[in-house]
């Protein structure tokens, strides 16, 4: 059926109607593994075709559809619409509890913001790993605040709106103070019921931390 053998340019055969050409371009763009140039299309389509025009039509046709005709360099391809990229991913969500170091660091930032890393370390009594800070930033719970106007101009950390949203706080000043914590029974040495196992493990940690502290 291919009319590529038709003599020269003044073809004896008429080029297929534009609708047909559009179908051809559509099929070629769909099936070819790489983007296709207009020259290549011209070579593959019957003589007298106008792939550039066919592309223009096709492009309009796919406008707003689930896939679009896009230009890639000087070639053309069909690609999934950008807003539907999420369909190409199958997410499996795994929920993990934030580590104790991260919770404590986060708590210190929340209660003391803006706070420098050195200050966090001073309060926690142990050094804060880079990973912990990074994780909290990635979670978008803390962010960099202003630099402190002290020697070395250290960066400070503050909590984010995302943090407030997650913990249901209007602002960080809403966090209960130590007194309130104590009156709420949160400062008792005994763990609240239901967290026994975890707290035990933490206690083991705790001991280590303290030994560390006293060895200083």
């Amino acid at each position: 059926m291919s009319k590529k053998d038709a003599p020269r340019n003044d073809s004896l055969f008429e080029a297929p109607p534009m609708g047909e050409q559009e179908r051809m371009v559509e099929a070629i763009l769909f099936a070819t593994a790489d983007p296709v140039t207009v020259t290549e299309l011209t070579g593959r389509m019957p003589h007298g075709c106008d792939p550039a025009e066919a592309i223009a039509h096709l492009r309009k046709r796919y406008d707003g559809r689930g896939v679009n005709v896009v230009r890639v360099g000087d070639a053309w391809a069909i690609r999934t619409a950008g807003d539907l990229g999420f369909l190409m991913q199958k997410e499996t969500v795994e929920t993990r509890k934030l580590s104790r170091a991260a919770i404590e660091t986060l708590a210190i930032v929340a209660y003391h913001q803006p706070v420098t890393r050195a200050e966090i370390e001073e309060i926690r009594g142990v050094s804060v790993s880079r990973g912990t800070i990074d994780q909290l930033i990635e979670l978008e719970w803390i962010r960099l605040g202003r630099r402190r106007m002290t020697p070395g101009r250290p960066v400070t950390f503050v909590v984010t709106q995302g943090f407030l949203d997650h913990f249901g706080l209007e602002n960080a000043r809403d966090l209960p103070g130590l007194k309130e914590l104590r009156s709420a029974g949160l400062l008792e040495n005994r763990p609240p019921p239901g967290t026994a196992a975890m707290t035990e493990a933490e206690d083991a940690d705790d001991d280590e931390d303290q030994t560390e502290l006293f060895e200083d």
Partner: protein, 264 residues
């Protein structure tokens, strides 16, 4: 029957050539059924109206000729020849009521069915292969996007975690002495247990200081704790009548020795 034989002899030259060609090409056949199907085409009739008797004779003639040409025929061709000879005799002779098994007609009908079915499958296979095929006539997507499996980890923490975490840090000082004491304290029970093990060897007066565990005298806290515990333990042992205690003067070394039961 005579007529049939005559017919066979009267095969045209071209038919004879064809038959010989069949023999030479016997390797090209996929077994006797395939050969029978090819032979049946010479009858130029619908397979449903085929003469199985004629076909059996054609086949037997083929095998005869092969033998004459000293061509080795595979065993299954000879088995088929034997079976067709049997079928031929059944078809030609009037049915013997005493004989068991299916009639010649039944066997012939089944062979005809087999041939028809094989031919039907060959036609079906040809039709199938003539269909548009994926990757030849129609095509799948050239640029595929695989579904990525993304494992996303979300971390959770509650306000309670946060407050408890903060409380833990801010009140660590409150708890410190308590925890520290445990680290640097020898209890009376510990001292008592230790002394019970050692007292058996203390026949002579010995300074109580020598009962302190090794390494506990370097740290003042520890030394105090262990001295007190050991002293308390020795009082307990004296009360039990296990040892005697004496002290020469105020602040003089306290000495203990095992109490000999004979002293009583």
């Amino acid at each position: 029957m005579q007529g049939e034989e005559f017919q066979e002899d009267a095969m045209s030259v071209s038919e004879r050539v064809a038959a010989e060609a069949l023999i030479v090409d016997v390797g090209a056949f996929e077994g006797p059924l395939d050969l029978l199907l090819t032979l049946s085409r010479t009858q130029k009739v619908d397979l449903r109206q085929i003469s199985i008797l004629a076909l059996a004779q054609q086949y037997l003639a083929f095998v005869e000729q092969a033998k004459r040409l000293r061509l080795e025929l595979a065993a299954d061709y000879l088995v088929m020849a034997a079976w067709l000879a049997f079928l031929k005799s059944r078809l030609l002779l009037p049915p013997d009521p005493s004989e068991e098994g299916p009639s010649g007609e039944e066997l012939a009908a089944h062979l005809a069915f087999q041939l028809e079915r094989l031919e039907a499958m060959r036609n079906a296979a040809a039709q199938l292969m003539a269909r548009d095929q994926l990757g030849r006539d129609f095509f799948a997507r050239g640029i595929t996007e695989d579904v990525q499996r993304v494992r996303r980890v979300t971390y959770t923490a509650t306000l309670l975690d946060l407050m408890q975490g903060y409380a833990r840090i801010r009140t660590r000082d409150d708890f410190r002495p308590f925890v520290m004491d445990r680290q640097h304290v020898m209890t009376m029970e510990q001292a008592l247990e230790r002394m019970r093990g050692l007292i058996g060897f203390a026949g002579n007066w010995t300074d109580i200081v020598s009962y302190l565990p090794d390494g506990w005298d370097a740290d003042p806290q520890r030394r105090r704790s262990t001295t007190a515990a050991t002293f308390a333990a020795s009082l307990e042992l004296a009360k039990e009548g296990k040892i005697e205690i004496r002290q020469g003067d105020t602040f003089a070394p306290i000495e203990i020795r095992k109490r000999d039961p004979r002293d009583e």
